[in-house]
Amino acid sequence: MHKIAVTSEGPSLDDRVDPRFGRAAGFVVVDLDTMETQYIDNGRSQMMAQGAGIQAAELVARAGVRCLLTGFVGPKAFQALNAAGIQVGQNLEGLTVRQAIERYQSGGVDMARSANRPGR
């Protein structure tokens, strides 16, 4: 089973990739073997003063994904994703969730070595 998570503005494959990770609206989790999808709402993050990225990393780690596709990840979230053994593909804003997955499957997404947003 190979599952990946994509930050998303909505629950379907045709919703847009949410450029934010920690404060993304939610995550579309896709099983690449069956293409079954599951949606994890991330609305709780809007109420957090700090630590939204760390909480989001906990959420996607709990979903058992191996890889995360998103726009931007800050340093603390990156550290947490790294600790969970989750690879990160960044700079995918502007695509739909489906397009981001297709790009990942065709080998067009480089896995990030570090965060692409400064911390606060």
Partner: protein, 293 residues
Amino acid sequence: MIIAVASGKGGTGKTTVTASLALVWDGPVLAVDLDVEEPNLHLFLRPEIAGNVKAHMPVPVVQEEKCTYCGLCSEFCQFKAISVVGQVVLTFPEMCHGCGGCMAICPEKALSPGQRELGEISWGQAGRVGFLSGRLRVGEAMSPPLMRQVKARLNQGLAAAGGDVLIDAPPGVSCPAVNAVMDSDVIVLVTEPTPFGVYDFQLAWEAFTPLGKSMGAVINRAGVGTDAIYRFCRDQGLPILAEIPYDRAIAEAYAQGRIVAEVSPGLRETFVSLMGKIRALAAPSCSREAAHA
């Protein structure tokens, strides 16, 4: 009696007023710099520093061999300063607010208190004026934890020696400013009659009014700007305790690190009169406290 000298806008003259009041105060007085992000009261009072200590806050340290990755700490911490992802516990000490909840809740006792340095507390004497000050460590984001430790020392000093306390508060109306004024008997709001000064003064008045303290205004640089501040004070029934004129001699003295109350007999009289008005303002609230006791 504890007097907090606060303002909304920065640079209106809190330190000028605090140092001048300390100079003319007619009894034992402790001057406390609670603007720990940028303390500057010492530049004017020039105290002889008698001692200092580093201030720390307890932050969790994980003993991995005891941890079962149950995640209770992670769920408890609303600031996400501790996080369990898979079989790893991560701590972010700089995000910790020091509540100790994670250590209390851990069923395995796998968390022990480590230390984050908050800054430094120093104390001394400037003539007959006692001096106490906090200085936040560069890179530290939260000032209230350090301020609370400075205040604990203030209360020890007050309990031991008595007298009055003058607090030089940080500007603004957020947590640090509220922390600096919340334990005072009287809040003296220093402002200037400029549009910025008036706007931020209103914010400060709104922020501090719910604390139920006696409040009064000091208008610095009187003579510039408009009369909006006077109208606001009149409409809210807020007494104007003193006016400090807009005067080049004051700016020159300040730039030389001199205390404004030393500049002329007239200015000294301004601050002596301010002291009297602060005492009068405090009287009703002190007697209310006595009635409680």
